[in-house]
Structure formats: structure tokens, C-alpha cells
């Protein structure tokens, strides 16, 4: 029998059995989840809720691609409508369009009034570079509103527009090649955090925790466009202590995006 791409036989019998490796690790909030579709890419094999349920991910900080690529208001409303009630399984994150900095600020203010605590930037998808005025403009306003910014882009360039504002930022594309740059930037900016998605060298998580502490790392999968098994395995098999793992697996994200106590 096939369960959305993974056979039961496969879970038990193959050399690539992951259950014993992941053990009882539960992600309580994945900071990097997308709804909607990229018109220039194939559709993912399954939508995010299906993928995340398969891996026991309890909640998803979800941003919409419709808002990022076409229309902020209707796109963000789409995500909000998918998360009725008390935002248990889906934690809405507002997508902003940096190609329209005035509209992006209006949208941030609208979302903040609705209780949304995080906004997401898509500079690569929108062709926006780190030194464009729109990035700094949005960063300043996010700091005033007390929002957490989740941002894509090369951290070696996108660290700069977020400095000196007391802003909480989660860099979603930090690759382990660039870990050193992130760490030296984060040392001066207590609000700088990173997703673990691409910190998949044998010691990146451990190095980052040693340098800036476990409070600055957040599990991110980019479901459904990336395989969540990879960051799950990396976190589960790494050298972090259980309390550190719990922070990375969602404790930190819940603090930033739901206001839960540290």
C-alpha cells in the first residue's frame, strides 16, 4: 500500500528507514511553509498539510505565494481563511511584495491589526536586491509594528538592511556555506535568527548553537517544495541537547510568531 509516496513496506524494510533516526522528535512549529504555487515551477507532489502530517509536524507558519507573486491582500486573506479559529495547525504569516513598498507597509499594518505577528519577504522571487530602498523601508516599519520578519535571500547581503532597528528577523535561506557570515552578523544583532533548512553540514547546527545559542535557530522545511525529512533528520541525529532541540523544533518559532513565553 502506498501512502502519499512512501510505502509501508518502505518504512519498515529499506536501508533508508528513518523512523528510528527521528525517534520521538516532534516539530511544534515549522517556520517555513508555503501555500499556493509558483507558476514557473512544477506543482509539488503533495500540498503542505499532507506532507507535514506525514512527518508529524504539528503546526506550520504558512505564507501564501499568491500574495507574494500577484496580490498581497487577496493572497494573505486566502491564507488567513485557511487558518480559522485559534491558529493551531496553520499560523498565518503575511506575504509582502517588495516591488510595492507603500502597499507592503499598508498590508503590514492591516495584518498587524488582525493579530498576525510575522511577515515574509520574497526578494529572490520578486527580483529585489538587498540595497533596494523598499527593503529598508519595510524593515523599519516592521520594527515599529513589532512584527517578526521572515526573509529569503542571500544572508551575506540581506543582513544589512535589517541592522540597527532592534528587529526580529529569521533568515530562511542561510546555507551552511555562509554560516560564518550569519554568525558574525548575528553576534551584533540579537534579533537575528536563522532557519535550519540549509544548515545541513555535519556540524552547522552544533556550531551555531555554540556561538549564538539555541534560541536563534528555527526549524524550517519549505514544505511542500522541499523534503521535510532532511532537516528533520539533521535535527534528530545532531548533537543538540533535548531542551535545545525543543527550542529549535518549534519553541523559538512559537515565541516569535505566537507570542508564547520563552
Amino acid at each position: 500500500m502506498v501512502m502519499a509516496g512512501i510505502s509501508r513496506e518502505g518504512l519498515r524494510m529499506t536501508p533508508f528507514d528513518t523512523r528510528h533516526l527521528i525517534g520521538d522528535l516532534v516539530v511544534t512549529l515549522d517556520v517555513d511553509v508555503l501555500a499556493g504555487a509558483y507558476p514557473d515551477r512544477d506543482l509539488p507532489p503533495d500540498p503542505a498539510p499532507v506532507v507535514l502530517a506525514r512527518h508529524g509536524v504539528a503546526a506550520a507558519a504558512t505564507a501564501g505565494l499568491r500574495a507574494a507573486l500577484f496580490d498581497m491582500v487577496s493572497g494573505n486573506d486566502e491564507v488567513l481563511a485557511s487558518a480559522p479559529g485559534n491558529w493551531v495547525a496553520v499560523v498565518p504569516v503575511g506575504s509582502l511584495d517588495l516591488r510595492d513598498p507603500l502597499g507592503a507597509v499598508r498590508e503590514m499594518e492591516r495584518l498587524a491589526a488582525l493579530g498576525v505577528r510575522g511577515v515574509r519577504l520574497f526578494p529572490d522571487e520578486q527580483g529585489v536586491e538587498a540595497d533596494f530602498p523598499s527593503v529598508r523601508h519595510v524593515a523599519r516599519r516592521a520594527a515599529v509594528l513589532g512584527l517578526t520578519v521572515l526573509t529569503g535571500g542571500d544572508v551575506r547581503r540581506f543582513w544589512r538592511p535589517f541592522t540597527g532597528l532592534g528587529l526580529r528577523v529569521v533568515f530562511l535561506d542561510t546555507h551552511f556555506y555562509h554560516l560564518g557570515d550569519f554568525l558574525v552578523a548575528a553576534a551584533d544583532e540579537p534579533g537575528f535568527h536563522t532557519s535550519t533548512r540549509l544548515l545541513n553540514s555535519p556540524d552547522a547546527l552544533e556550531t551555531a548553537v555554540g556561538e549564538i545559542g539555541p534560541e536563534r535557530l528555527l526549524f524550517g522545511s519549505r514544505s511542500p517544495y522541499y523534503e521535510p525529512l532532511v532537516p528533520l533528520l539533521r535535527l534528530a541525529t545532531g548533537g543538540l541537547k533535548p531542551d535545545e532541540t525543543a527550542l529549535v523544533a518549534g519553541g523559538n518559532a512559537r515565541r516569535l510568531l505566537l507570542g508564547e513565553p520563552a
Partner: protein
């Protein structure tokens, strides 16, 4: 049983301290054997790095008996490469050749790469060649031109994995190995569904990349039975003629 056909021994220049983690990283994921290249050989000085790797493999260090070596070939240093192949392959601890395109400034279509691959073919061992994007198609073309050459397309083209499918279809001596620090959903399943299961290998790029990336990507593909075993180790054991039951 799992055999990793794309692994490394030695330090890297990034913010990482993994020189001693080759075997530890294997143990995290139950990887039994690995074919490794010396990082110094890949990045800077092939001969010096091959010498260091040979010393490590012969050192008796814990776990070193689970490692086989690649003789790294710099296509711009062919005389040295020939000496290294002659010196290390007869030891039995080296079972293939590794060629990186970028670090050596050697596009797969370049004349000096063709000479290097001809040299490796004459040595009778497989060559692991770094491929990215469309370069995997160039590798298939060169492989077809060189009698007896067996090549592993390292990273199976990375974001060019659909080109890797085409490459494998056009050359029956070309094998695919999936490692990449990125892990798009469905990449492995798509390739596995389209390529002869006898041509798929498991590789991680450890210790540059944690085995989680390749292991998780392959696990997500849900391969079972013979297809999973072939990818995990049988194809590698046959290709490198390893003494495994």
C-alpha cells in the same frame, strides 16, 4: 547495507570543523562503507591530497577500514595523475578516480578533461565526476566517446537532474549519484522512476554535506525491495568490484 560512493576525508575551508567526522557521520545513518576523496586533493593539490589520503587509509585509525579511496585527478596535471593512479590503485584501497570540474577549471567538454577521462578508463576504474545543470549531458557524450569508461555523475546534475535522466538513457556506462545540499520535493522519486535501477547509486558528499540530505531525499522517494537495495549498495559493490557477499 549502505555504500556511500561520494564522501570525503579531510578539512574544508568553510566555517566547519569536520575533518575527523567522516566515520561518525556515516554512523549517524548506518552507512557501512564509503568511497572517499581527500579534500586537499579535490580543492588544492591532487598529489599531496592523494598522498595524505593513502596515509590515512593505511593508518589503522578507527573506522578507516570502512573506507575506500578515490585517486583524485586534476586534468591539468595529467602526468602526476598517471603516477598517482599507478601508485595507489594496486594497493587495493583505492577503487576509483575523482575529478572535480570547478576546482580544476576543467569543464567536462574541455580537451584536458577528455584526456583525463581517457586515462582513467585505461586504468580500469570508475570516475566520479562533478556535474551540475546541463554538464551531465556533456559527461554522457564524452563517456560514449571513450571505450570502456564508466562514470558516476556526481550530484546527478543537482538542479539539472532531468538532464541526468536523459544522460543515463543515452550512455549505459553512466551512473547517477544524488547528493546535493538542496533537496527539492520529488527529485529522487522522479529520477528513480525514469532510470534503469541498475544505474543508481547512493552518495552524500559528506563531510561537506551531512548525510541527512541524501538519506532523507532518498528515503522520501519510498523505494523498496530490490530497487532500494540496488541504490543503497548492490550497484556500488558491482561497479567498484568490492568484496561484498
Amino acid at each position: 547495507m549502505i555504500i556511500d560512493v561520494h564522501a570525503h576525508q579531510g578539512p574544508w575551508f568553510f566555517t566547519m570543523d569536520v575533518a575527523a567526522l567522516t566515520v561518525a557521520a556515516m554512523d549517524r545513518y548506518g552507512i557501512d562503507l564509503a568511497v572517499v576523496s581527500g579534500t586537499e586533493a579535490v580543492i588544492y593539490d591532487a598529489s599531496a591530497g592523494n598522498r595524505s589520503l593513502a596515509a590515512f587509509l593505511g593508518s589503522g585509525a578507527p573506522g578507516s577500514e570502512r573506507l575506500y579511496g578515490y585517486v583524485t585527478v586534476n586534468p591539468r596535471r595529467l602526468a602526476a595523475a598517471e603516477r598517482d593512479l599507478d601508485a595507489y590503485l594496486p594497493t587495493g584501497r583505492f577503487v576509483g578516480a575523482k575529478i572535480h570540474t570547478d576546482y580544476t577549471g576543467s569543464p567536462i567538454g574541455s580537451p584536458w578533461m577528455r584526456e583525463a577521462l581517457t586515462l582513467v578508463a585505461a586504468a580500469g576504474v570508475p570516475a566520479l565526476v562533478h556535474t551540475w545543470g546541463t554538464s551531465v549531458l556533456d559527461l554522457a557524450r564524452v563517456c560514449r566517446d571513450i571505450p570502456g569508461l564508466r562514470v558516476i555523475a556526481g550530484h546527478m546534475g543537482a538542479d539539472g537532474y532531468r538532464h541526468a535522466v536523459e544522460a543515463a538513457r543515452t550512455c549505459d556506462r553512466l551512473y547517477l549519484e544524488p547528493c546535493w545540499s538542496h533537496f527539492p520535493a520529488g527529485r529522487i522519486a522522479e529520477v528513480a522512476a525514469a532510470v534503469d535501477p541498475g544505474r543508481l547509486l547512493f552518495g552524500t558528499d559528506s563531510t561537506l554535506i551531512d548525510p541527512a540530505s541524501a538519506f532523507g531525499s532518498v528515503a522520501a522517494a519510498g523505494l523498496t525491495g530490490d530497487a532500494a537495495d540496488r541504490l543503497a549498495w548492490r550497484n556500488a559493490a558491482d561497479l567498484f568490484r568490492l568484496p561484498i557477499g
